[in-house]
């Protein structure tokens, strides 16, 4: 049983020499096995929260804390955070030319597990995970995310989730750009990981569609850099119907 605790998190970003405060005190606690959905208008800071937890160098923390089972996440380097059990499925996965998916996955698995996976079982493991996500095996030889369609990039993120088996996953708009079938396949992938490992999930989304597959225990409304309301799954339906007007003007 693990806990990821975000307290009073304040984050600024440097834009053309001026620093701009984006997160204005975020409080959020996620435990193993829980699924938290975050919904909020464009530009409200959802991705900023995700990147800040993962340690993206563009974001500067000016206040608050992030801890994983009491350990100071903000003091860790990016790779240490991943090794500690955090995973970020990115809204816009990055292309890395010349680095094959196979090489990348193996290097990442070696780093996370602390030893190189056994060749024989590893190959099978990757094949199986790719097949489960309906990814053609030729992706293995392609460069990381290079020339992948939007949906293919998202599947590749979930493939990594399956292979790296983190304690907590932040899924930043993993559903955007997925067709109906892909949405189901990707959601099933997430649920599989959760069933096997008691994964805690922070799921950022604009649509209730994905929440029909990945059932949230909690829904948080995010606006202007903080959590402004919390509730159960019914809150998502209300948001879908009424939008964010009441939170944005408030």
């Amino acid at each position: 049983m693990s806990t990821l605790e975000i307290k009073g998190l304040k984050v600024v970003v440097d834009a053309d020499g001026n620093s701009k405060e984006i997160l204005k005190g975020v409080d959020l606690t996620i435990r193993s096995g829980e699924t938290h959905a975050i919904m909020g208008p464009n530009g409200s800071g959802k991705s900023t929260l995700a990147y800040s937890i993962a340690g993206h160098p563009k974001y500067t923390i000016t206040g608050g804390s992030v801890t994983l089972d009491g350990q100071d996440v903000l003091a860790m380097s990016v790779d240490e955070r991943a090794k500690a059990g955090l995973f970020l499925a990115m809204q816009y996965p990055v292309e890395v030319p010349g680095v094959s998916v196979t090489n990348f996955l193996r290097t990442a698995a070696t780093a996370i597990r602390g030893e190189a996976p056994k060749v024989r079982t590893w190959v099978g493991e990757v094949k199986e995970a790719m097949a489960a996500l309906n990814m053609d095996s030729n992706f293995a030889e392609r460069s990381v995310n290079e020339g992948f369609s939007g949906g293919e990039k998202k599947r590749h993120e979930i493939l990594q989730l399956e292979l790296l088996k983190p304690k907590f996953a932040i899924l930043d708009e993993t559903d955007s750009g997925l067709d109906v079938d892909a949405l189901r396949i990707v959601s099933e992938g997430v649920n599989r990981v959760k069933a096997n490992s008691d994964l805690g999930i922070l799921l950022i989304t604009h649509y209730t569609r994905i929440l029909r597959y990945i059932k949230p225990d909690f829904v948080h409304v995010f606006a202007a850099g903080r959590v402004v309301e919390e509730g159960g799954p019914e809150l998502a339906d209300k948001l879908e119907e009424k939008g964010y007007a009441e939170y944005v003007t408030a």
């Binding site: 993962a54 340690g55 993206h56 160098p57 563009k58 380097s77 990016v78 790779d79 955070r81 991943a82 090794k83 995973f87 970020l88 990115m90 996965p93 990055v94 292309e95 890395v96 030319p97 010349g98 680095v99 090489n103 990348f104 290097t107 990442a108 780093a111 996370i112 460069s143 990381v144 990594q160 790296l164």
Partner: protein
């Protein structure tokens, strides 16, 4: 053809020499210093369809004009020339390896002509190792329908000075693919240059250079589209690490008025891994006819992409390993073309070792 062999010592103000540290040439362009005529390249192994001869220089007339001072000097200095002939129609399954044996730092000049008979096909690999002060004039004559894959690996020791021209005259429907990899040497200045002798001919000039502290690595393409319906592609990638690492890439492509139907594209990308390193990249396209298939060029010089490094690190990969992956990835496209696992590994290991030495991977 009247070949001009007048040699003038450059002052450094000439366009062709303005990037080169002339004080580091170890006498190669100094008329007071005599260059020893050597046959520094030899055939590693006899192969059917390949003949290797050493001939009096007067018997092997250069097939191309040059204004390059180093080339003119070589032509003056050499007494003998190596002539490598691939028989008409011969298709060589295995590469022709040429061994390099130098005078270990005494100034020398070597001239070589590699001649491919009609419809022949060969891969020639030169591995340049050791210590040398070498000026070289390499020419390739590709008769119609022939294909030459020429791979030149500059894996020199630290002190080597190497001035070289690699000029191809490409016949009708012939294909010249050159891959130049320069990782070693103190000062290396190479001129991969091309002219066409018949329509339907094609050239692909690919290169990789990696300079660390104090190295000056210069590559100057010259593609002369002097005939209609020929094609050229240039793709050079370089990385620089260490304070005084220096690279120069010049891409001169001329499309003459007669060269209708030309199809050309050239690309140079540089990755700067240290603040004090400097990469010059000068693409230059001159077009005298609009009746062409395509002509373009691109040149970029940048640093590590933080987003790439973040992505890799966010998967648990430590920062130094992430950088190494990105550098390997950057060069992979070029290394793949060599299509030889052993060479690829050897080069990548050398790059890794050099990187570790200059501490660019922290």
């Amino acid at each position: 053809m009247a070949i001009n062999t007048n040699y003038l010592q450059p002052s450094g103000r000439e366009e062709a020499w303005r990037f080169t540290p002339l004080n580091r040439l170890a006498g190669l362009l100094d008329s007071q210093v005599e260059l020893t005529s050597t046959n520094s390249l030899s055939l590693a192994r006899e192969l059917p369809g390949v003949s290797f001869q050493i001939l009096e220089s007067s018997q092997v007339v250069p097939i191309s004009q040059s204004t390059d001072e180093a080339t003119l000097r070589v032509r003056n200095a050499v007494k003998e020339v190596a002539l490598i002939t691939i028989a008409e129609g011969a298709e060589l399954a295995e590469p022709i390896y040429l061994n390099r044996k130098t005078l270990d730092g005494r100034p020398e000049a070597t001239r070589v002509l590699i001649s491919l008979g009609a419809n022949s096909k060969a891969t020639v690999i030169v591995q340049n190792i050791g210590n040398a002060v070498l000026a070289e004039d390499l020419e390739f004559k590709l008769d119609s329908g022939s294909t030459l894959n020429f791979i030149s690996l500059q894996e020199w020791d630290d002190k080597t000075i190497h001035l070289g021209r690699q000029h191809a005259v490409i016949g009708r429907d012939a294909t010249f693919n050159s891959i130049v990899v320069t990782v070693g040497g103190s000062l290396v200045r190479l001129l991969p240059t091309v002219e066409y002798a018949g329509p339907g001919s094609s050239a692909e000039l690919t290169g990789l250079y990696f300079a660390t502290d104090g190295q000056h690595l210069e590559h100057r393409m010259h593609v002369d589209h002097n005939l209609p319906n020929a094609k050229s592609r240039v793709n050079y990638k370089g990385a620089l690490a260490g304070d005084k690492a220096r690279t120069v890439w010049i891409g001169d492509v001329y499309i003459r008025a007669a060269a209708e139907g030309t199809d050309t594209y050239e690309l140079n990308r540089n990755l700067l891994l240290s603040d004090g390193a400097r990469a010059d990249s000068v693409p230059n396209l001159e077009i005298e006819t609009g009746e062409i298939v395509g002509a373009g060029h691109a040149s970029t010089t940048g640093r590590f992409d933080d987003e790439q490094l973040f992505y890799l690190s966010s998967r648990g990969i430590p920062a130094d390993e992430a950088r190494r992956l990105v550098i390997r990835g950057f060069f992979q496209e070029i290394l793949n073309k060599i299509n030889n696992q052993e060479i690829e590994e050897r080069l990548m290991n050398r790059i890794d070792t050099d990187l570790a030495k200059v501490g660019a991977i922290k």
